[in-house]
Subunit: 216 residues, 2 copies
DNA sequence: CTGCCTATGTTATTATATTAACAAGGTCGT
DNA sequence: ACGACCTTGTTAATATAATAACATAGGCAG
Protein backbone atom coordinates (compact mmCIF):
# COMPACT_ATOMS: atom_id res chain seq x y z
CA UNK A 1 0.00 0.00 0.00
CA UNK A 2 1.46 3.31 -1.07
CA UNK A 3 1.42 6.17 1.41
CA UNK A 4 -0.43 9.32 0.42
CA UNK A 5 1.35 12.63 0.58
CA UNK A 6 0.25 15.14 3.25
CA UNK A 7 -2.84 17.07 2.23
CA UNK A 8 -1.02 20.35 2.67
CA UNK A 9 1.46 19.39 -0.03
CA UNK A 10 -1.08 18.00 -2.45
CA UNK A 11 -2.99 21.27 -2.30
CA UNK A 12 0.06 23.12 -3.58
CA UNK A 13 1.04 20.77 -6.40
CA UNK A 14 -1.38 22.19 -8.99
CA UNK A 15 -0.09 25.68 -8.24
CA UNK A 16 3.47 24.60 -8.95
CA UNK A 17 2.25 23.00 -12.11
CA UNK A 18 0.55 26.15 -13.34
CA UNK A 19 3.61 28.29 -12.64
CA UNK A 20 5.80 25.80 -14.45
CA UNK A 21 3.45 25.82 -17.43
CA UNK A 22 3.87 29.59 -17.53
CA UNK A 23 7.65 29.43 -17.29
CA UNK A 24 7.88 26.78 -19.99
CA UNK A 25 5.67 28.78 -22.33
CA UNK A 26 8.13 31.68 -21.82
CA UNK A 27 10.90 29.19 -22.66
CA UNK A 28 12.53 29.32 -19.23
CA UNK A 29 14.55 26.13 -18.82
CA UNK A 30 15.86 26.38 -15.27
CA UNK A 31 14.14 27.77 -12.21
CA UNK A 32 15.27 28.11 -8.60
CA UNK A 33 13.12 27.63 -5.53
CA UNK A 34 13.50 31.36 -4.88
CA UNK A 35 11.95 32.29 -8.20
CA UNK A 36 9.18 29.77 -7.66
CA UNK A 37 8.66 31.40 -4.29
CA UNK A 38 8.06 34.77 -5.94
CA UNK A 39 5.62 33.26 -8.41
CA UNK A 40 3.63 31.18 -5.96
CA UNK A 41 3.81 33.13 -2.71
CA UNK A 42 5.10 30.12 -0.79
CA UNK A 43 8.52 30.21 0.85
CA UNK A 44 11.48 28.74 -1.01
CA UNK A 45 12.14 26.35 1.88
CA UNK A 46 8.63 25.02 1.72
CA UNK A 47 8.83 24.52 -2.02
CA UNK A 48 12.07 22.57 -1.76
CA UNK A 49 10.61 20.49 1.02
CA UNK A 50 7.49 19.77 -0.98
CA UNK A 51 9.46 18.51 -3.95
CA UNK A 52 11.89 16.63 -1.75
CA UNK A 53 9.03 14.65 -0.31
CA UNK A 54 8.68 12.87 -3.64
CA UNK A 55 12.39 12.65 -4.46
CA UNK A 56 15.31 14.79 -5.60
CA UNK A 57 14.27 16.62 -8.76
CA UNK A 58 16.74 19.50 -8.88
CA UNK A 59 20.46 19.96 -9.31
CA UNK A 60 22.33 21.72 -6.52
CA UNK A 61 23.86 25.02 -7.34
CA UNK A 62 21.59 25.42 -10.35
CA UNK A 63 17.92 24.81 -9.69
CA UNK A 64 15.19 22.77 -11.28
CA UNK A 65 14.80 21.94 -14.94
CA UNK A 66 11.32 23.21 -15.71
CA UNK A 67 10.37 20.50 -18.22
CA UNK A 68 11.65 17.72 -16.02
CA UNK A 69 9.99 19.06 -12.88
CA UNK A 70 6.74 19.51 -14.75
CA UNK A 71 6.80 15.93 -15.98
CA UNK A 72 7.39 14.71 -12.44
CA UNK A 73 4.55 16.79 -11.04
CA UNK A 74 2.19 15.59 -13.75
CA UNK A 75 3.03 12.03 -12.87
CA UNK A 76 2.65 12.63 -9.14
CA UNK A 77 -0.71 14.37 -9.40
CA UNK A 78 -1.90 11.82 -11.91
CA UNK A 79 -2.30 14.16 -14.85
CA UNK A 80 0.14 12.34 -17.09
CA UNK A 81 -2.83 10.52 -18.52
CA UNK A 82 -5.97 12.35 -19.57
CA UNK A 83 -8.58 12.26 -16.80
CA UNK A 84 -12.19 11.80 -17.75
CA UNK A 85 -14.91 13.43 -15.71
CA UNK A 86 -18.62 13.93 -15.66
CA UNK A 87 -20.53 17.01 -14.55
CA UNK A 88 -23.91 16.61 -12.89
CA UNK A 89 -26.12 19.67 -12.77
CA UNK A 90 -26.28 21.96 -15.78
CA UNK A 91 -27.32 25.19 -14.11
CA UNK A 92 -25.29 28.31 -14.72
CA UNK A 93 -22.50 27.04 -12.48
CA UNK A 94 -22.43 23.60 -14.05
CA UNK A 95 -22.25 25.15 -17.49
CA UNK A 96 -19.51 27.52 -16.45
CA UNK A 97 -17.46 24.72 -14.94
CA UNK A 98 -17.92 22.51 -17.96
CA UNK A 99 -17.01 25.13 -20.49
CA UNK A 100 -14.04 26.31 -18.47
CA UNK A 101 -12.58 22.84 -18.22
CA UNK A 102 -13.21 22.10 -21.87
CA UNK A 103 -11.39 25.25 -22.93
CA UNK A 104 -8.73 25.83 -20.32
CA UNK A 105 -7.89 22.61 -18.53
CA UNK A 106 -5.91 20.49 -20.98
CA UNK A 107 -5.50 17.63 -18.52
CA UNK A 108 -9.14 16.62 -18.31
CA UNK A 109 -11.81 15.42 -20.68
CA UNK A 110 -15.46 16.14 -20.00
CA UNK A 111 -17.13 12.85 -20.82
CA UNK A 112 -20.63 14.18 -20.23
CA UNK A 113 -22.82 16.72 -18.49
CA UNK A 114 -26.19 15.71 -17.10
CA UNK A 115 -29.24 17.45 -15.74
CA UNK A 116 -32.46 16.28 -14.16
CA UNK A 117 -34.45 18.96 -15.93
CA UNK A 118 -35.53 17.60 -19.33
CA UNK A 119 -35.82 21.16 -20.63
CA UNK A 120 -32.07 21.58 -20.29
CA UNK A 121 -31.35 18.28 -21.97
CA UNK A 122 -30.46 18.75 -25.59
CA UNK A 123 -28.97 22.24 -25.30
CA UNK A 124 -25.26 22.47 -25.96
CA UNK A 125 -22.06 23.68 -24.34
CA UNK A 126 -19.54 24.01 -27.10
CA UNK A 127 -19.94 20.72 -28.92
CA UNK A 128 -21.19 18.85 -25.86
CA UNK A 129 -24.89 18.09 -25.43
CA UNK A 130 -26.52 18.22 -22.02
CA UNK A 131 -28.00 14.81 -21.43
CA UNK A 132 -30.75 13.49 -19.18
CA UNK A 133 -29.75 11.87 -15.89
CA UNK A 134 -30.78 8.42 -17.06
CA UNK A 135 -27.84 8.38 -19.49
CA UNK A 136 -25.33 8.96 -16.71
CA UNK A 137 -24.66 5.34 -15.61
CA UNK A 138 -23.91 4.18 -19.13
CA UNK A 139 -21.43 6.99 -19.79
CA UNK A 140 -19.59 6.42 -16.51
CA UNK A 141 -19.36 2.70 -17.02
CA UNK A 142 -18.48 2.65 -20.70
CA UNK A 143 -15.78 5.29 -20.39
CA UNK A 144 -14.68 4.15 -16.93
CA UNK A 145 -15.01 7.64 -15.53
CA UNK A 146 -13.73 8.01 -11.96
CA UNK A 147 -14.17 11.74 -11.31
CA UNK A 148 -17.34 13.79 -11.02
CA UNK A 149 -18.21 17.40 -10.37
CA UNK A 150 -21.61 18.05 -8.91
CA UNK A 151 -23.43 21.36 -9.07
CA UNK A 152 -26.99 20.44 -8.21
CA UNK A 153 -29.25 21.88 -5.50
CA UNK A 154 -28.39 20.81 -1.96
CA UNK A 155 -31.60 18.79 -1.70
CA UNK A 156 -30.70 16.41 -4.52
CA UNK A 157 -26.95 16.23 -3.93
CA UNK A 158 -26.93 13.15 -1.70
CA UNK A 159 -29.04 11.12 -4.10
CA UNK A 160 -26.85 12.13 -7.02
CA UNK A 161 -23.72 11.15 -5.09
CA UNK A 162 -25.17 7.78 -4.21
CA UNK A 163 -25.85 7.14 -7.90
CA UNK A 164 -22.39 8.29 -8.91
CA UNK A 165 -20.69 6.05 -6.38
CA UNK A 166 -22.85 3.10 -7.36
CA UNK A 167 -21.67 3.50 -10.92
CA UNK A 168 -17.98 3.64 -10.12
CA UNK A 169 -17.07 7.26 -9.35
CA UNK A 170 -14.32 7.46 -6.71
CA UNK A 171 -13.56 11.18 -6.49
CA UNK A 172 -16.08 14.01 -6.29
CA UNK A 173 -15.75 17.76 -6.42
CA UNK A 174 -18.85 18.99 -4.65
CA UNK A 175 -20.24 22.46 -5.27
CA UNK A 176 -23.54 21.76 -3.57
CA UNK A 177 -23.81 23.43 -0.16
CA UNK A 178 -24.24 20.28 1.87
CA UNK A 179 -22.24 17.61 3.65
CA UNK A 180 -22.15 14.41 1.63
CA UNK A 181 -22.08 10.95 3.12
CA UNK A 182 -19.87 8.57 1.16
CA UNK A 183 -18.00 5.29 1.76
CA UNK A 184 -14.53 5.66 3.24
CA UNK A 185 -12.63 4.97 0.04
CA UNK A 186 -14.43 7.73 -1.89
CA UNK A 187 -12.84 11.17 -1.88
CA UNK A 188 -14.96 14.29 -1.71
CA UNK A 189 -13.59 17.81 -2.02
CA UNK A 190 -16.01 20.49 -1.04
CA UNK A 191 -15.89 23.68 -3.04
CA UNK A 192 -18.68 25.51 -1.39
CA UNK A 193 -18.62 29.04 -2.72
CA UNK A 194 -20.92 30.42 -0.03
CA UNK A 195 -18.61 29.12 2.66
CA UNK A 196 -15.64 30.69 0.95
CA UNK A 197 -17.35 34.01 0.77
CA UNK A 198 -18.60 33.92 4.33
CA UNK A 199 -15.28 32.98 5.85
CA UNK A 200 -13.67 35.74 3.81
CA UNK A 201 -16.11 38.18 5.36
CA UNK A 202 -14.67 37.33 8.76
CA UNK A 203 -11.49 39.08 7.67
CA UNK A 204 -13.13 42.27 6.47
CA UNK A 205 -11.84 45.14 8.52
CA UNK A 206 -14.67 46.58 10.55
CA UNK A 207 -14.86 49.47 12.96
CA UNK A 208 -16.47 47.73 15.91
CA UNK A 209 -14.88 44.50 17.05
CA UNK A 210 -16.13 43.20 20.36
CA UNK A 211 -17.06 39.57 20.17
CA UNK A 212 -15.09 38.67 17.10
CA UNK A 213 -12.06 37.42 18.96
CA UNK A 214 -11.11 35.61 22.09
CA UNK A 215 -11.18 38.18 24.87
CA UNK A 216 -9.56 36.11 27.60
CA UNK B 1 -5.66 45.24 18.26
CA UNK B 2 -7.97 42.26 18.40
CA UNK B 3 -6.52 38.85 17.75
CA UNK B 4 -7.87 36.90 14.81
CA UNK B 5 -9.13 33.40 15.32
CA UNK B 6 -7.10 30.54 13.84
CA UNK B 7 -7.76 30.05 10.14
CA UNK B 8 -8.75 26.45 10.71
CA UNK B 9 -11.63 27.55 12.94
CA UNK B 10 -12.79 30.38 10.70
CA UNK B 11 -13.08 27.97 7.80
CA UNK B 12 -15.58 25.90 9.76
CA UNK B 13 -17.78 28.70 11.05
CA UNK B 14 -19.94 29.04 7.91
CA UNK B 15 -20.57 25.31 7.99
CA UNK B 16 -21.86 25.49 11.55
CA UNK B 17 -24.00 28.40 10.49
CA UNK B 18 -25.59 26.51 7.63
CA UNK B 19 -26.36 23.48 9.78
CA UNK B 20 -27.90 25.72 12.42
CA UNK B 21 -30.04 27.42 9.79
CA UNK B 22 -31.30 23.99 8.81
CA UNK B 23 -32.03 22.96 12.40
CA UNK B 24 -33.83 26.22 13.13
CA UNK B 25 -35.97 25.88 10.02
CA UNK B 26 -36.95 22.45 11.36
CA UNK B 27 -37.76 24.14 14.68
CA UNK B 28 -35.06 22.37 16.64
CA UNK B 29 -34.32 24.49 19.70
CA UNK B 30 -31.46 22.63 21.38
CA UNK B 31 -28.57 20.82 19.76
CA UNK B 32 -25.64 18.90 21.22
CA UNK B 33 -22.11 18.84 19.88
CA UNK B 34 -22.65 15.19 19.03
CA UNK B 35 -25.58 15.97 16.74
CA UNK B 36 -23.64 18.81 15.16
CA UNK B 37 -20.86 16.32 14.63
CA UNK B 38 -23.16 14.07 12.62
CA UNK B 39 -24.39 16.97 10.52
CA UNK B 40 -21.01 18.54 9.82
CA UNK B 41 -18.60 15.60 9.79
CA UNK B 42 -16.32 17.24 12.35
CA UNK B 43 -15.73 15.59 15.72
CA UNK B 44 -17.81 16.71 18.68
CA UNK B 45 -14.65 17.66 20.59
CA UNK B 46 -13.50 19.90 17.81
CA UNK B 47 -16.87 21.59 17.58
CA UNK B 48 -16.92 22.33 21.31
CA UNK B 49 -13.38 23.62 21.14
CA UNK B 50 -14.20 25.86 18.20
CA UNK B 51 -17.12 27.47 20.01
CA UNK B 52 -15.19 27.67 23.27
CA UNK B 53 -12.55 29.75 21.56
CA UNK B 54 -15.02 32.60 21.36
CA UNK B 55 -16.70 32.03 24.72
CA UNK B 56 -19.13 29.71 26.47
CA UNK B 57 -22.28 29.50 24.40
CA UNK B 58 -23.86 26.28 25.64
CA UNK B 59 -25.35 24.98 28.86
CA UNK B 60 -23.75 21.93 30.40
CA UNK B 61 -25.86 18.82 30.54
CA UNK B 62 -28.14 20.17 27.82
CA UNK B 63 -26.43 21.50 24.73
CA UNK B 64 -26.60 24.64 22.65
CA UNK B 65 -29.62 26.78 22.01
CA UNK B 66 -29.77 26.91 18.24
CA UNK B 67 -31.08 30.47 17.93
CA UNK B 68 -28.59 31.83 20.44
CA UNK B 69 -25.64 29.99 18.92
CA UNK B 70 -26.63 31.17 15.49
CA UNK B 71 -26.77 34.77 16.60
CA UNK B 72 -23.33 34.44 18.13
CA UNK B 73 -21.86 32.91 14.99
CA UNK B 74 -23.40 35.59 12.82
CA UNK B 75 -21.81 38.22 15.00
CA UNK B 76 -18.44 36.47 15.01
CA UNK B 77 -18.27 35.96 11.27
CA UNK B 78 -19.55 39.47 10.68
CA UNK B 79 -22.81 38.52 9.02
CA UNK B 80 -25.02 40.26 11.56
CA UNK B 81 -25.02 43.24 9.23
CA UNK B 82 -25.67 42.87 5.53
CA UNK B 83 -22.38 42.69 3.58
CA UNK B 84 -22.18 44.47 0.27
CA UNK B 85 -20.05 43.06 -2.48
CA UNK B 86 -19.14 43.66 -6.09
CA UNK B 87 -18.49 41.06 -8.76
CA UNK B 88 -15.94 41.79 -11.47
CA UNK B 89 -16.12 39.66 -14.59
CA UNK B 90 -19.49 38.72 -16.03
CA UNK B 91 -18.59 35.56 -17.88
CA UNK B 92 -20.57 32.41 -17.22
CA UNK B 93 -18.89 31.96 -13.85
CA UNK B 94 -19.39 35.57 -12.79
CA UNK B 95 -23.04 35.36 -13.72
CA UNK B 96 -23.49 32.10 -11.88
CA UNK B 97 -21.85 33.48 -8.74
CA UNK B 98 -23.89 36.64 -8.86
CA UNK B 99 -27.20 34.94 -9.34
CA UNK B 100 -26.47 32.34 -6.72
CA UNK B 101 -25.64 34.92 -4.10
CA UNK B 102 -28.64 37.06 -4.98
CA UNK B 103 -30.98 34.11 -4.58
CA UNK B 104 -29.45 31.91 -1.94
CA UNK B 105 -27.13 33.90 0.26
CA UNK B 106 -29.30 36.09 2.48
CA UNK B 107 -26.33 37.64 4.25
CA UNK B 108 -24.88 39.51 1.29
CA UNK B 109 -26.01 42.18 -1.13
CA UNK B 110 -24.61 42.32 -4.64
CA UNK B 111 -23.99 46.03 -5.14
CA UNK B 112 -22.88 45.62 -8.73
CA UNK B 113 -21.43 43.38 -11.40
CA UNK B 114 -18.96 44.73 -13.90
CA UNK B 115 -17.39 43.56 -17.13
CA UNK B 116 -14.73 44.96 -19.43
CA UNK B 117 -16.58 43.75 -22.51
CA UNK B 118 -19.04 46.47 -23.57
CA UNK B 119 -21.17 43.83 -25.29
CA UNK B 120 -21.99 42.29 -21.92
CA UNK B 121 -22.79 45.63 -20.34
CA UNK B 122 -26.49 46.24 -20.28
CA UNK B 123 -27.60 42.61 -20.11
CA UNK B 124 -29.26 41.60 -16.88
CA UNK B 125 -28.96 39.03 -14.10
CA UNK B 126 -32.27 38.98 -12.32
CA UNK B 127 -32.92 42.68 -11.82
CA UNK B 128 -29.23 43.62 -11.82
CA UNK B 129 -27.63 45.19 -14.87
CA UNK B 130 -24.11 44.32 -15.88
CA UNK B 131 -22.21 47.60 -15.94
CA UNK B 132 -19.01 48.74 -17.66
CA UNK B 133 -15.81 48.74 -15.65
CA UNK B 134 -15.62 52.49 -15.54
CA UNK B 135 -18.65 52.58 -13.20
CA UNK B 136 -16.92 50.38 -10.66
CA UNK B 137 -15.06 53.00 -8.58
CA UNK B 138 -18.17 55.07 -8.01
CA UNK B 139 -20.23 52.09 -6.84
CA UNK B 140 -17.55 50.93 -4.43
CA UNK B 141 -17.02 54.35 -2.96
CA UNK B 142 -20.63 55.45 -2.72
CA UNK B 143 -21.82 52.23 -1.12
CA UNK B 144 -18.58 51.69 0.83
CA UNK B 145 -18.19 48.18 -0.50
CA UNK B 146 -15.36 46.23 1.11
CA UNK B 147 -15.71 42.80 -0.52
CA UNK B 148 -15.17 41.77 -4.13
CA UNK B 149 -15.37 38.57 -6.10
CA UNK B 150 -13.31 38.44 -9.24
CA UNK B 151 -13.90 36.05 -12.13
CA UNK B 152 -11.90 37.60 -14.94
CA UNK B 153 -9.21 35.99 -17.11
CA UNK B 154 -5.88 35.44 -15.39
CA UNK B 155 -4.21 38.05 -17.59
CA UNK B 156 -6.37 40.92 -16.35
CA UNK B 157 -6.78 39.82 -12.74
CA UNK B 158 -3.86 41.75 -11.27
CA UNK B 159 -4.94 45.02 -12.87
CA UNK B 160 -8.50 44.53 -11.66
CA UNK B 161 -7.28 43.83 -8.14
CA UNK B 162 -5.13 46.94 -8.13
CA UNK B 163 -8.15 49.01 -9.10
CA UNK B 164 -10.33 47.36 -6.48
CA UNK B 165 -7.82 47.96 -3.72
CA UNK B 166 -7.31 51.56 -4.81
CA UNK B 167 -11.01 52.12 -4.42
CA UNK B 168 -11.32 50.68 -0.94
CA UNK B 169 -11.86 46.92 -1.29
CA UNK B 170 -10.21 45.02 1.59
CA UNK B 171 -11.28 41.41 1.00
CA UNK B 172 -11.20 39.53 -2.29
CA UNK B 173 -12.49 36.15 -3.34
CA UNK B 174 -10.37 35.29 -6.36
CA UNK B 175 -11.56 32.83 -8.98
CA UNK B 176 -8.91 33.80 -11.51
CA UNK B 177 -6.19 31.17 -11.81
CA UNK B 178 -3.31 33.37 -10.79
CA UNK B 179 -1.44 34.55 -7.71
CA UNK B 180 -2.42 38.11 -6.82
CA UNK B 181 -0.08 40.64 -5.27
CA UNK B 182 -1.80 42.82 -2.69
CA UNK B 183 -0.82 44.99 0.28
CA UNK B 184 -0.47 43.16 3.59
CA UNK B 185 -3.75 44.36 5.08
CA UNK B 186 -5.82 43.09 2.15
CA UNK B 187 -7.21 39.58 2.38
CA UNK B 188 -7.37 37.33 -0.64
CA UNK B 189 -9.02 33.91 -0.68
CA UNK B 190 -8.23 31.88 -3.72
CA UNK B 191 -11.03 29.72 -5.05
CA UNK B 192 -9.29 28.29 -8.02
CA UNK B 193 -11.52 25.60 -9.43
CA UNK B 194 -8.84 24.07 -11.62
CA UNK B 195 -6.60 23.61 -8.61
CA UNK B 196 -9.40 22.00 -6.69
CA UNK B 197 -10.07 19.57 -9.48
CA UNK B 198 -6.42 18.74 -10.05
CA UNK B 199 -5.64 18.11 -6.40
CA UNK B 200 -8.72 15.92 -6.24
CA UNK B 201 -7.34 13.87 -9.11
CA UNK B 202 -4.34 13.03 -6.95
CA UNK B 203 -6.69 10.96 -4.81
CA UNK B 204 -8.26 9.00 -7.64
CA UNK B 205 -7.53 5.36 -7.16
CA UNK B 206 -5.33 4.13 -9.98
CA UNK B 207 -3.90 0.77 -10.81
CA UNK B 208 -0.28 1.73 -11.23
CA UNK B 209 1.31 3.71 -8.45
CA UNK B 210 5.06 4.06 -8.71
CA UNK B 211 6.17 7.63 -8.24
CA UNK B 212 3.09 8.98 -6.57
CA UNK B 213 4.35 8.58 -3.04
CA UNK B 214 7.51 8.84 -1.07
CA UNK B 215 9.39 5.62 -1.73
CA UNK B 216 12.14 6.02 0.87
C1' DC C 1 -31.98 18.91 49.15
C1' DT C 2 -29.01 15.18 47.55
C1' DG C 3 -27.05 12.37 44.10
C1' DC C 4 -26.88 10.72 39.42
C1' DC C 5 -26.76 11.78 34.64
C1' DT C 6 -25.54 14.44 30.72
C1' DA C 7 -23.05 17.52 27.85
C1' DT C 8 -20.11 21.44 28.06
C1' DG C 9 -15.63 23.76 28.60
C1' DT C 10 -10.84 23.20 29.81
C1' DT C 11 -6.41 21.17 30.02
C1' DA C 12 -3.06 17.77 28.26
C1' DT C 13 -1.35 15.04 24.59
C1' DT C 14 -0.41 13.88 20.07
C1' DA C 15 -0.08 14.77 15.21
C1' DT C 16 0.62 17.76 11.38
C1' DA C 17 2.60 21.63 9.12
C1' DT C 18 5.71 25.50 8.77
C1' DT C 19 9.95 27.77 9.48
C1' DA C 20 14.70 27.84 10.15
C1' DA C 21 19.40 26.11 10.10
C1' DC C 22 22.76 23.48 7.99
C1' DA C 23 25.16 20.10 5.31
C1' DA C 24 26.00 18.16 0.74
C1' DG C 25 26.42 18.34 -4.12
C1' DG C 26 27.08 20.95 -8.38
C1' DT C 27 28.81 24.80 -11.35
C1' DC C 28 32.06 28.01 -12.98
C1' DG C 29 36.05 30.82 -13.24
C1' DT C 30 40.88 30.77 -12.82
C1' DA D 1 42.24 20.70 -10.94
C1' DC D 2 41.11 23.69 -7.11
C1' DG D 3 38.35 26.84 -4.54
C1' DA D 4 34.62 30.10 -4.04
C1' DC D 5 29.89 30.36 -4.71
C1' DC D 6 25.29 28.92 -5.30
C1' DT D 7 21.17 26.17 -4.61
C1' DT D 8 19.40 21.92 -3.36
C1' DG D 9 18.04 18.35 0.07
C1' DT D 10 17.99 17.08 4.89
C1' DT D 11 17.70 17.58 9.68
C1' DA D 12 16.21 20.32 13.69
C1' DA D 13 13.12 23.57 15.93
C1' DT D 14 8.92 25.90 16.24
C1' DA D 15 4.13 26.73 15.58
C1' DT D 16 -0.41 25.27 14.56
C1' DA D 17 -4.15 22.02 14.61
C1' DA D 18 -6.56 17.82 15.97
C1' DT D 19 -7.50 14.39 19.35
C1' DA D 20 -8.15 12.69 23.80
C1' DA D 21 -8.92 12.99 28.73
C1' DC D 22 -11.00 15.12 32.39
C1' DA D 23 -13.16 18.27 35.45
C1' DT D 24 -17.17 21.38 35.92
C1' DA D 25 -21.87 22.84 35.92
C1' DG D 26 -26.61 22.39 35.08
C1' DG D 27 -30.96 19.41 34.98
C1' DC D 28 -33.91 16.17 37.07
C1' DA D 29 -35.71 12.34 39.89
C1' DG D 30 -36.76 10.86 44.32
Amino acid sequence: MTKRAPKSIVKRLPIYLRVLDGLISREVEIVSSRVLSEETGFTAEQIRKDFAYFGAFGTRGTGYNTEYLRSKLLRIIGLDRQTKLVVVGAGLLGKALTRYNMLKNPYVDVAGIFDANPAEAGSEIGSLKIRPMKDMPAVIKEQQVKVAMISVPAESAQQVVNDLVDNGITAILNFAPTKLKVPQNIHVHNADLTNELQSLIYYVIEDKEELRSNSK
